[in-house]
């Protein structure tokens, strides 16, 4: 359970600054006896989560580093967990013939919130850009896992709207299925790939999945440079189809030599038309701007938060920084194929029972250093 207690936020912030992931022990997160949320409308279904992943945005919350921007977009107390693979529980209002194993599309858009007519974005099919995430009959919350009304994946029971459910093919394991949600994110990002010379900054879950999604969804073979910090990340990036894997301080030189660029000061005169920033820190965005080609675009796949940037080159070289948020149902369908073809279940490095949540979060926060990628909670034994 994640509750809104300012003192605890402060403690988490402190602990998180001392050591990533330590916010779990002292922060607003606590393990509470299960209280399954009520069904908002009879339409809704109950889910028993099987696996639920720990996402970077979850860690930001736990360590208190998440932007204040989210505060009005979430409702306390909530149960985190939006990377969920779950069993659907049959009940009075919902009958089905067979056992359903599903993944949840967490975005709480108009249709889920019972808002009709739907907003312009939803009408256009961009449910991830829904304008009504804080309104309707649900408490505010941009996604399942940040909303008081829905519960979240880090629990033994939650609720979901049928439109949120995506059936998991039987040939996929739970581990593969828990990767579908993050992969859908990556698939969404990979749509920005145009086959040109590309750099991906960061080889955490998002970086690796973006790479995998690009390679799986595009026939173009333009060179892709990936920066990775840890040996395991480097190995996986190579396996998933990176042409060059280098340390982040080597990136500008790699881009320079492979794009036949000159250098003015620190700025490459040429560069990569597309740069996927899968980290979201000031440094990574600044570096992305350093290596992006004039007129090119930096895709913000990682969640940036409050950063400080030198943007003169953005102005001068007419480059752009553009966000990449979430997914639509179509992305989930593609993601299932990507997970299957790229064998992404290997990215699930460890699972923990809920009671060991501090260990799990510590592991996730130091995943790269500890040679891991995705850490998940395992509720199958409950």
């Amino acid at each position: 359970m994640f509750s809104r207690k300012p003192a605890r936020f402060a403690a988490a912030r402190l602990a998180g600054a001392l050591m990533p992931g330590r916010g779990a022990a002292v922060g607003p997160l606590s393990l509470e006896p299960d209280e399954a949320p009520a069904l908002p409308t009879p339409e809704w279904v109950r889910l028993k989560p099987r696996l639920a992943g720990i996402c970077g945005s979850d860690l930001a919350l736990v360590d208190g580093t998440a932007s204040a921007y989210f505060d009005p977009l979430v409702s306390y107390p909530f149960v985190p967990g939006h990377e969920v693979v779950a069993d659907v529980v049959a009940h009075d209002g919902y009958a089905h013939g067979r056992h359903r194993r599903v993944v949840v599309i967490p975005v709480l858009h108009c249709a889920v919130r019972g808002i009709a007519p739907v907003c312009a974005a939803c009408a256009a099919g961009h449910t991830n850009r829904c304008e009504r995430v804080a309104f309707g009959h649900l408490e505010p919350g941009l996604q399942t896992g940040f909303c008081e009304s829905t519960g979240g994946g880090w629990s033994t029971e939650m609720v979901a709207h049928p439109s949120q459910l995506v059936d998991v093919p039987d040939d996929l394991s739970d581990e593969a299925a828990v990767m579908i949600e993050p992969t859908a994110c990556a698939v969404h990002a990979a749509k920005r790939y145009d086959g040109s010379h590309t750099a991906i900054i960061g080889a955490g879950t998002l970086g690796l999945l973006t790479l995998a999604a690009i390679r799986a969804t595009s026939d173009a073979t333009g060179p892709i440079i990936v920066t990775a910090r840890y040996p395991e990340q480097k190995r996986l990036a190579k396996e998933l189809g990176a042409d060059v894997v280098c340390a982040s301080d080597e990136l500008p030189r790699w881009v320079r030599s492979t794009t036949h660029s000159l250098v003015v000061g620190d700025q490459l005169t040429c560069g990569c038309p597309r740069v996927f920033d899968c980290v979201g820190s000031s440094d990574s965005i600044q570096q992305a701007l350093q290596v992006v080609a004039p007129g090119g675009e930096v895709e913000m796949v990682g969640m940036p938060g409050n950063v400080s940037l030198e943007l003169t080159s953005l102005w001068h070289r007419e480059t752009a920084i553009r966000g990449v948020y979430a997914y639509t149902r179509a992305d989930f369908d593609t993601a299932i194929d990507v997970v299957r073809s790229a064998g992404l279940e290997r990215l699930v490095s460890a699972t923990y029972p809920l009671r060991d949540y501090t260990d799990a979060i510590a592991h996730a926060a130091n995943a790269g250093r500890r040679g891991a990628v995705k850490i998940a909670f395992d509720m199958r034994s409950h």
Partner: protein, 529 residues
């Protein structure tokens, strides 16, 4: 009378031997009974009247008319000189080049020559900084020639200033600096400290175009360049250079080669322990050693570098000869050997060497990992005659911190080479085929080479190729005290201590290998029988 070099058999009474470790030193105990240390000959006595010797050489050249008779009014005279890579460390002022060029200019002035041009024969080396030119040539020459544009640095990538002289039967094109090619007389002022330098190599590399250089500076040629002792029968490089030299002699401008040799008095007084045999260290030298090493350990690396690169050696001149290139070079070689040759009996299982803070490619710069390889396997390994000191398949142990550190102004292409080429391959031939062209033709590197103070984009490949023969020959190369990740990327094995290194080497050479330590610098050429 200076003592000749000699080979010490290490026994239990032998004090530990001095090793360079980049910007520091260490003393390493070598196992008694199966180790030996090769000590270079002591510095030969210097010429007393240097200016007199220079005049004498110019007036009585070998197989050539005296210099004054080659000078006439209205002629085009070009004087070329060796760049900052010689000598190491830099020479106390006045530099030999300054003395010789001033003597040549005196004669040219007497003969009424107006059109005189000075060219730094860089080859693909970095352009010299102003302070380096001033150091080599003296302020008088710099101030007189540089403002008028009559002192330039060779540019191997300037299409407007290169001229083709001819072609060898092997299809090697000789293309050199246009000003030199168009001159009535080219005077080359050389400093010889290793036998491979000088002779035809002076002009055919120092003034050559990239196209011309790449014909002989490649992995294949240098794998077949056995020893840098300047003996052509073992060196594919020198065979190629001598073919080019023939073309130059037959079709090129008139040449007047001036070569000088230096003794091995390389370090200032306060560092006398470097050149002193350990058992002869006085109390003062021991104290200096202790104080120096302990202080350097606590000195920030940048400051240590500044101290070392600021050193100026006495480097006294032992001979000067002028005239026809081949004939002059033969005499030069005799003098070099007189100073540097040490007869050594038989090969060894393990060759140890301390790598200093400087090699010919980083004066006033950082000794980066590629240069460590180049210095160890390229220069020191190749300082032999007849056959290498270490047996084929033996182990070479170097001592150097091998930090992953580069001078971005001097060695920009080295950084890319380290990050992009070395993780891919360490094989000179493979990298030559796969990567060399990209670096050689990189517009940015070309720009930095031509307008900045950077080595040519292809230079890290050449530095790597120098070590090609040693790399092929050695069964294992161990760097003691090197940064492990960096050393591994070079394709070598890191070790913490010398004892660890011997332990690691035992996989290759067994438990009781013979060990030979090259006590350098001063420079020496081992004549292995």
């Amino acid at each position: 009378m200076p003592r000749p070099g000699f080979v010490l058999e290490v026994d239990r009474s032998t004090p530990p031997s001095l090793f360079w470790r980049g910007e520091n030193f260490s003393l390493e105990k070598l196992p008694a009974g199966r180790s030996r240390v090769i000590y270079p000959p002591e510095p030969l006595p210097a010429i007393k009247d240097i200016d007199g010797a220079i005049r004498n050489a110019l007036l009585n050249p070998i197989d050539q008319d005296p210099l004054p008779s080659l000078l006439f009014p209205g002629m085009k005279l070009t004087i070329c000189f060796d760049d900052v890579s010689l000598p190491l460390p830099k020479m106390r002022r006045p530099d030999t080049r300054q003395r010789v060029i001033e003597a040549v200019l005196d004669m040219a002035a007497d003969a009424g020559v107006e059109d005189v041009h000075l060219i730094a024969a860089l080859g693909l080396h970095r352009r010299m900084h102003e302070y380096e030119l001033r150091h080599a040539l003296g302020d008088r020459i710099y101030d007189a020639f540089h403002p008028r544009g009559m002192l330039t640095q060779h540019d191997a990538e300037d299409p407007d200033n290169l001229a083709v002289i001819g072609e060898t039967p092997h299809g090697e094109v000789l293309e050199i600096n246009k000003r030199a090619a168009d001159s009535d007389l080219v005077v080359y002022v050389n400093i010889n400290s290793v036998p491979m330098d000088g002779g035809w190599k002076s002009i055919t590399t120092g003034l050559a175009s990239y196209r011309c250089l790449s014909a002989h500076h490649n992995g294949h040629t240098l794998q077949n360049t056995r020893s840098l002792s300047g003996h052509r029968e073992h060196s594919a490089l020198h065979q190629s250079i001598w073919r080019l030299g023939k073309v130059l002699r037959d079709h090129g401008p008139k040449l007047f080669q001036i070569e000088t040799t230096l003794n091995t008095d390389m370090f200032p007084e306060q560092f006398s322990f470097i050149a002193t045999r350990e058992w002869e260290w006085s109390a003062r030298e021991r104290a200096t050693y202790l104080a120096t090493t302990k202080a350097l350990k606590r000195t920030p690396i940048k400051l240590a570098r500044k101290i070392f690169h600021g050193m100026e050696g006495p480097h006294q001149m032992t001979s000067i000869q002028a005239g026809e290139t081949s004939a002059v070079h033969e005499i030069t070689l005799e003098h070099v050997y007189r100073q540097q040759l040490v007869p050594v009996e038989g090969q060894t299982d393990i060759l140890t060497m301390g790598i200093p803070f400087v090699c010919p490619y980083n004066p006033d710069g950082v000794m980066n990992p590629i240069l460590v390889m180049c210095m160890g396997l390229g220069y020191l390994f190749n300082m032999y005659r007849n056959k290498p000191l270490v047996r084929e398949g033996g182990v070479i142990i170097m001592t150097h911190p091998t930090y992953r550190d580069f001078n971005p102004v001097h060695h920009p292409s080295y950084i890319d080479f380290f990050e992009q080429v070395l993780p891919d391959t360490t094989d000179p031939v493979v990298m030559g085929q796969k990567w060399e062209k990209q670096f050689a033709e990189d517009e940015w590197f070309r720009h930095l080479y031509r307008t900045g103070n950077a080595y040519h984009g292809v230079h890290p490949f050449y530095a790597w190729y120098w070590g090609a023969h040693g790399q092929q020959w050695a069964g294992k190369v161990i760097i003691v005290g090197g940064d492990p990740a960096t050393v591994r990327r070079l394709g070598f094995t890191p070790a913490t201590t010398m004892d660890d290194a011997f332990e690691i080497a035992s996989d290759v050479v067994g438990r009781a290998p013979t060990i030979t330590h090259l006590h350098v610098p001063a420079l020496l050429v081992a004549d292995v029988s």
